[in-house]
């Protein structure tokens, strides 16, 4: 794809609160002072949706926001393009506070800066795949021939060539979500918001779609906020992950951080069934070399499982770890790899 690459932009979410109820403003101060969700509900009949959220999304990265149902993750993503208005806090994108935008500015912001993919697809059932994919451009007032050209390109890119004249109801769930993805990408916005985009899909198709997204991200380098309740999905695609529980962020970091250093029992419980051999990377486990470097080498972004396999097959006690330029930056001893794999690391 020869898209003029847009410079990725970051998202700063600062001190964001959302309280649901008839008079939310009245209770912000109490929540700031530490009133719990249960207390707010019992004493004032208001529901604490989000509490003091601070997330800074790195430009051009995939930020996963993970949590179980009711954790507030879908509420949170809707604040970024202000489908939901916050009770307090700010969201800074390109130096502008989304929370304070006027109706008109907000509309322009949604048209040009963000695109969104929905859990239940949110396609227009009376429109063909092509007209659905071109919707964002149509709203922007772009001529038909141009928007069809762009939409067609993305329909091909997500693997739906030949279906452009079909209606959404004629497609399977996975294909419908490809249309949703094509619609979002055709918009050419620097920020992509994905609200449980793959949760409604079968596991195999979900894995497929994750691959599609990761491949695409290599080309387009968007700033992606991805909501999911599936830890494996989060660990696979997230550059950074924020864990949400009862409307609060309980841990943020890379997949390695969260698996190796869970912040509390809740997170530890969450990650205990993860396939650590696949998730953990050599780079997160390696140690400083002492003495001579081993002959056999492995890349920093290889998984622990791959390292173990290589060592076991060749009866080695350690591997040299090379950065992408081929420079040695550490070693990974067999015992450390085993410890990391079994969760015994300190």
């Amino acid at each position: 794809m020869t898209d003029p690459a847009i410079d990725p932009i970051g998202i700063e979410i600062r001190n964001l609160y959302k309280i649901f109820g008839p008079n939310p403003e009245a209770h912000v101060a109490a929540v700031r002072a530490g009133m719990s969700k249960a207390e707010l509900q019992a004493r004032h009949g208001h529901v604490l949706g989000l509490s003091d959220i601070n997330i800074s999304v790195v430009p051009g990265s995939i930020q996963v926001i993970m949590g179980l149902s009711g954790s507030g993750k879908s509420t949170l993503i809707r604040h970024i393009n202000r489908l939901i208005d916050p009770t307090a806090g700010e969201i800074i994108i390109e130096g502008r506070n989304v929370v304070e935008m006027s109706r008109q500015d907000l509309r322009a912001f949604r048209r040009h800066k963000t695109a969104m993919v929905f859990q239940k697809f949110g396609l227009l059932p009376h429109r063909t795949v092509l007209d659905n994919a071109a919707y964002g451009l149509e709203v922007q007032g772009i001529s038909q021939s141009e928007r069809y050209r762009t939409a067609m390109r993305w329909i091909e890119r997500v693997g739906l060539s030949g279906f452009e004249k079909s209606y959404p109801s004629q497609l399977s769930g996975g294909m419908q979500q490809r249309v949703g993805l094509a619609r979002a990408l055709a918009n050419d916005a620097p920020i992509l918001l994905m609200d449980e985009a793959y949760s409604a899909l079968d596991p195999l198709i979900r894995y497929d779609m994750q691959t599609v997204l990761l491949d695409l991200q290599q080309e387009v380098r968007k700033t992606i906020v991805f909501i999911t309740h599936d830890l494996d999905e989060a660990l696979r695609i997230g550059d950074r992950i924020a864990l949400l529980r009862d409307g609060s962020v309980i841990q943020q970091g890379t997949a390695q951080d969260i698996v190796m250093r869970p912040a509390d029992d809740y997170v530890a419980n969450f990650v205990q069934h993860v396939d650590r051999g696949k998730v953990l990377k050599v780079g997160a486990v390696m140690v400083q070399p002492t003495g001579a470097l081993p002959e056999a080498a492995i890349a920093t972004d290889a998984s622990i499982a791959e390292a173990l396999q290589q060592m076991a097959a060749n009866h080695l006690q350690a591997l040299r770890v090379d950065d992408p330029e081929g420079q040695p930056i550490g070693i990974i001893p067999f015992q450390d790899a085993i410890d990391a794999y079994t969760g015994q690391h300190r």
Binding site: L83, R110, R111, F121, L124, H126, G136, V139
Partner: protein, 296 residues
């Protein structure tokens, strides 16, 4: 037993008489003062009605048959509907009711257009605001349950006897389903679809035209269908205030006990009702083409 227990203690007769008289007098004065003005206001309707009627009456019957056949085909793509429609009209013509039928059809079409023109925007406004819905709903309830003879009285007092008051009476009777079903159809549109249109920065107008109206269309079409049927039913009653067409022979049949005359004209009304219904429903269904091959 005291009398107030056996008969309901009503307001005094003289008071009720005075109340009715003063309201009637007030309305009569209003009619005398503003009747011309109101008549002038409604005169475009007169022009439209006469234009419609002339169009249908002056067009050779063969062309009308051809147009109906084409419409039926275009809407349904079914030979059965086409043959049924043409056969109905041929039978009506053979039994000598062609002219009256054309008059009735022109009246029904005019009333339907007017109902859509007023009802669709009202339904949209109603769907956008709960307060407007609370305001309009009881008015529609009254319009639908009030015996139509009752509102014929003020209409005739204001505008006299003729086509325009007839049209207004028909529209009052036939418009409620149009408004209600437009409102319902728009309110039923999937929330996530609307959220998606919002997320892509649609304006309120874009959202209405590109998502809400098309998705509400099946329900709106059901409303139009209902409106047509109710307009047809009202045509007979409207003949009492001078609307020409199939209703007048029915009225004559009632007062003279001409059973067969009444039956013929009654069947003609049923015939065109079925014709309108099949064509509009088939059209509505074809608009839903995209929902045919539903997956999983």
């Amino acid at each position: 037993m005291p009398s107030w227990l056996t008969s309901f203690p009503q307001l005094s007769n003289s008071f009720l008489r005075d109340l009715q008289r003063s309201i009637d007098d007030g309305f009569r004065t209003f009619t005398r003062g503003y009747g011309d003005l109101i008549e002038g206001f409604f005169s475009p309707l007169q022009t439209m009605l006469i234009w419609f009627e002339r169009l249908l009456l002056n067009t050779p019957w063969l062309i009308i048959l051809a147009v109906v056949a084409a419409l039926a085909w275009g809407a349904s793509r079914s030979l059965r509907v086409v043959i049924g429609s043409v056969a109905t009209l041929v039978l009506i013509g053979l039994f000598g009711m062609w002219t009256d039928t054309m008059r009735t059809v022109s009246m029904v079409l005019a009333a339907t257009f007017l109902s859509i023109a007023i009802g669709l925007p009202l339904g949209i406004v109603m769907a956008r605001s709960d307060r407007v819905q609370r305001l309009i709903s009881p008015v529609l309830d009254i319009m639908q349950t009030m015996p139509s003879f009752v509102y014929l009285i003020p209409v005739v007092m204001l505008l006299g006897i003729g086509r325009v008051p007839g049209l207004i009476a028909v529209v009052i009777y036939a418009i409620p389903p149009m408004i209600r079903l437009t409102n319902l159809g728009i309110r039923q549109v999937d929330r996530e679809v609307l959220e998606a249109t919002d997320a892509f920065g649609s304006s309120a107008w874009q959202k209405l035209v590109k998502a809400q109206l098309p998705l509400a269309l099946p329900t709106i079409m059901a409303g139009i269908n209902q409106t047509i049927m109710m307009a047809l039913a009202m045509v007979v009653i409207a003949s009492m205030i001078g609307v020409q067409g199939l209703g007048q022979p029915v009225l004559r049949a009632i007062s003279n006990q001409y059973f067969t005359l009444g039956l013929f004209n009654g069947f003609a009304i049923v015939g065109i009702a079925i014709l309108f219904d099949r064509i509009s429903q088939a059209w509505g269904k074809r608009l839903q083409k995209h929902q045919e091959a539903s997956h999983d």
